[in-house]
């Protein structure tokens, strides 16, 4: 396996808000359920890029990921693929300053 450049940190992400509701079961007990709503809230999540490829592409992708947050929490991708289609793998936002472990 080749060496990869990792860019990691904490970033904001919009997640759907869940709403709770109760339903009465046949045996008379009220059971709690969760429903996904259309509303979203912004939460901070730890995110990570792991990029491999040629040095030239690595440089370009490292600059690109400066303001590009991965959609998935942990994304391993080749620099070439990321440069071809950045919006497929990430969204534009800023990394947040927190204490993260490697």
């Amino acid at each position: 396996m080749v060496k990869k450049i990792a860019r990691y940190g904490t970033a904001p992400e919009k997640v759907p808000v869940h709403q709770r509701y109760w339903k009465k079961r046949k045996d008379g007990i009220k059971q709690r359920y969760w429903r996904k709503t259309k509303r979203t809230k912004t939460v901070l999540k730890s995110k990570r890029w792991e990029i491999h490829g040629k040095p030239k592409d690595l440089y370009k992708s490292a600059v690109l990921t400066y303001k590009l947050i991965p959609i998935k929490d942990f994304t391993t991708i080749s620099a070439e693929k990321l440069l071809e289609n950045p919006e497929k793998y990430g969204y534009e936002a800023e990394w947040v300053e927190t204490d993260v472990e490697s």
Binding site: M1, V2, K3, K4, I5, A6, R7, Y8, G9, T10, A11, E50, P55, L58, Y59, K60, S61, A62, V63, L64, T65, Y66, K67, L68, F74, L83, P86, E87, Y91, E92, E94, W95, V96, E97, T98, D99, V100, E101, S102
Partner: protein, 166 residues
């Protein structure tokens, strides 16, 4: 999205909050936090001799924090075998935590860029062979460092424009 690789926007935020590092599975790496240099050197020597790892480098990441990279190429299984051996014998809590995180990720990562007030890790000790994994690690480190330097230069170019705007 307006972001394109060949025409990215000028960077207005001057602070980089993310961290750049090098990740792989074939080189043995250790991360000693809150440990004296003498202890780090002792464990680096002991591990190198026991597992015949040929050579190592020690990088100082911050005060009493050191990274160790060994020279011999190993498999991921052997890599984790070695790190687990060091964790068990040294009973180092921070190293054990780091080891568990690397197991989850299935690849070990060491930081190259600066982190908050901590500076970029720098080499403080070399021993033995340096031609295999260490050479590769240092080559990648050079790439990452050049990326950081170029980003820094771009930020400096952007900053006077922002000042004049405000």
């Amino acid at each position: 999205m307006a972001m394109k690789p060949n025409g990215w926007k000028p960077m207005l935020n001057l602070k980089d909050n993310s961290i750049l590092g090098i990740s792989d599975s074939e080189s043995v790496k250790l991360d000693f936090d809150n440990t004296r240099f003498k202890t780090v050197k002792y464990w680096a020597f002991r591990t190198m001799k026991w597992f015949k790892l040929k050579g190592f480098i020690i990088l100082k990441s911050s005060k009493n924090s050191y990274h160790v990279v060994f020279d011999r190429r190993v498999s991921w299984t052997e890599n984790m075998h070695i790190v687990a051996w060091v964790c068990l014998l040294s009973q180092h809590k921070a190293l054990t935590k780091w080891f568990l995180m690397q197991c989850i990720k299935e690849g070990s990562t060491l930081r190259v860029s600066a982190k908050k007030e901590k500076p970029e890790p720098r080499i403080v000790f070399r021993y033995g062979s340096q031609n295999n994994q260490i050479a590769e690690f240092l080559a990648y480190r050079k790439i990452v460092k050049s990326i950081i330097a170029k980003l820094q230069r771009q930020k400096e170019l952007c900053s006077p424009a922002i000042k004049t705007l405000t």
